[in-house]
Amino acid sequence: MAKPLLERQVSLIEHMTSAAAIFGGAGGSAPGLEGIDPALLRVEARFSYAKRMEKITAVLPRTFGLLGSSRDAHVRAFVESCPPTTLSRLENACRFYQFLVSCWKHEAPNPPYIGDVAALEIACAKVDADPGRPSPDRAHSGDIRRCPSIILLRCTYDVRPIFELGSEKAVPVKRDAPLVVALPPGADGPQVFEVAPALFDLLAALDDWTDPQGLDVAPDFAKLIADLAARGLIEVRR
């Protein structure tokens, strides 16, 4: 008697998303899939795997380039430990990034700045995807807050040259690099700004609507706020 349809579908997709089916090693018929040519299942598994990896590399192209000779081993380990659970390009990329971060807890990242490159690529993708959250009503006129759609990233290396020049030409300098990733009004895509540490800390503190009068700030603070608002980093409640 044929198994229920969902049970058969589960068998198929679990097999197809397995490292054994994708990379080889699944010799005979998969359990529950008797009567289907294993070679054809392997073709389907590789199609599906290729689509998933296309999505991830589209978000993390520089990171993949920097993985170099360790790329295949990392990808295989990722496939084995993190089967696909979503169609989303960003979610799959975030999952791969989290996997790399967990690897780097046990092995030194190579090159040492690859973690910052990956974090910046993910931040750019998130900023581009995020429509921002609506303003709550409890803000008062004149209150300010960090734009919900920007991301703050404190890097150990200044990796921006990799994004500007390409990884083969850039040599990131190891130094504190407080970065802001934002999608300013009218911009074609996410922009990356380096800001002074004090400004980074201010933006980090402005998590919610804040009365600027209560802040211990410099005399030209109003000009600074206007500038940050024009760049899409701060919102000012009207």
């Binding site: 289907i36 073709v43 689509k51 169609l87 995807a129």
Partner: protein, 297 residues
């Protein structure tokens, strides 16, 4: 006033958004992936909705997984309905396939066992879609690498049964018919002949690659959407147009998108085949494209 020829266009892709806008006058319509409107980047969503009113748009989904044997995501369907309305699209299409099971997603379209029992399950699902998305619903035939051993019906009979019971139309992927017929050894013309009259509302065309692997019994044609449409698929399109009256033909291209000349050449080749079948279609609705009263700006 005579009937109209089918509109010819391409699937809108983010990577060539600027190029598409620059060449908008070369296309009668663009196909929008509904899921890009729901989960795409801010810039992609803006680019898509900027097209509304500039060119007729059709709405095609990839995220439904109609064939997974679990209840449909009604919240997702409600979002789809809003998108189709906003795009001013004449219909909503999805694949007769499944892509996921609870907790696992393949991003690849998997075939269903072609049995009457499975058809009954799909019929119920289609009716649910039709109750949540108040636009004509079209099912697309997919290409498949393997068949379930218990499949008893032909592709055409399976599609006919589901579409005729529900009133859903068919988004006929002619390239997929060509691939499946070649890979699985059936007559593609007999498939086209077997489709019920009036079923085919839209058409997809594409070009793929041949996979050669020593583990395979024979080379496999794959639907990669990466290369020019083969002449054999265009021949099959012409055969289809002699028997069916789709209102729009969409060229699908997902790879090697930098080859803009190839894409435009494919559009020209499709138009040439359409023109060679230029017996006017029956007048319908008095609008730009018969069968699709909304397929106009």
């Amino acid at each position: 006033m005579g009937g109209q020829l089918p509109a010819v266009g391409i699937g809108f892709r983010a990577a060539i958004a600027d190029w598409t806008r620059e060449n908008l006058d070369r296309f009668d319509a663009l196909e929008i992936t509904v899921d890009h409107c729901l989960a795409g980047s801010t810039s992609l969503r803006a680019a898509i909705f900027d097209l509304v009113g500039r060119v007729p748009l059709t709405a095609h989904g990839v995220g439904l997984s109609l064939g997974t044997d679990v209840p449909l995501d009604l919240a997702y369907l409600d979002e789809v309905a809003e998108v189709v309305e906003r795009l001013r699209a004449p219909a909503y299409s999805e694949h007769l396939a499944f892509t996921r099971v609870p907790g696992r997603e393949t991003a690849a379209l998997m075939p269903l066992p072609k049995t009457e029992a499975v058809a009954e399950q799909i019929i119920a699902k289609v009716r649910t879609v039709q109750s949540r998305v108040p636009f004509p619903f079209l099912l697309e035939n997919i290409t498949y690498v393997f068949e379930w051993p218990d499949s008893k019906m032909s592709d055409a009979d399976f599609l006919n049964l589901i579409c005729c019971e529900t009133g859903a139309g068919l988004l006929l992927d002619v390239e997929n018919v060509y691939l499946n017929a070649t890979n699985h050894g059936f007559d593609p013309h007999a498939f086209i002949d077997a489709l019920r009259p009036g079923l085919v509302r839209e058409v997809h065309m594409a070009g793929g690659v041949t996979i050669r692997d020593e583990s395979l019994a024979k080379p496999l044609l794959a639907d990669s959407h990466s290369h020019p449409v083969p002449d054999a698929a265009l021949d099959l399109l012409e055969y289809t147009l002699a028997r069916h009256t789709p209102s729009v033909i969409i060229l699908e291209r997902d790879d090697r998108l930098e080859a803009g000349d190839e894409i435009l050449d494919d559009i020209a080749r499709i138009r040439a085949r359409v023109a060679s079948r230029a017996e006017p279609f029956p007048e319908s609705h008095g609008r730009a494209c018969p069968g699709h009263p909304r397929l106009a700006c």
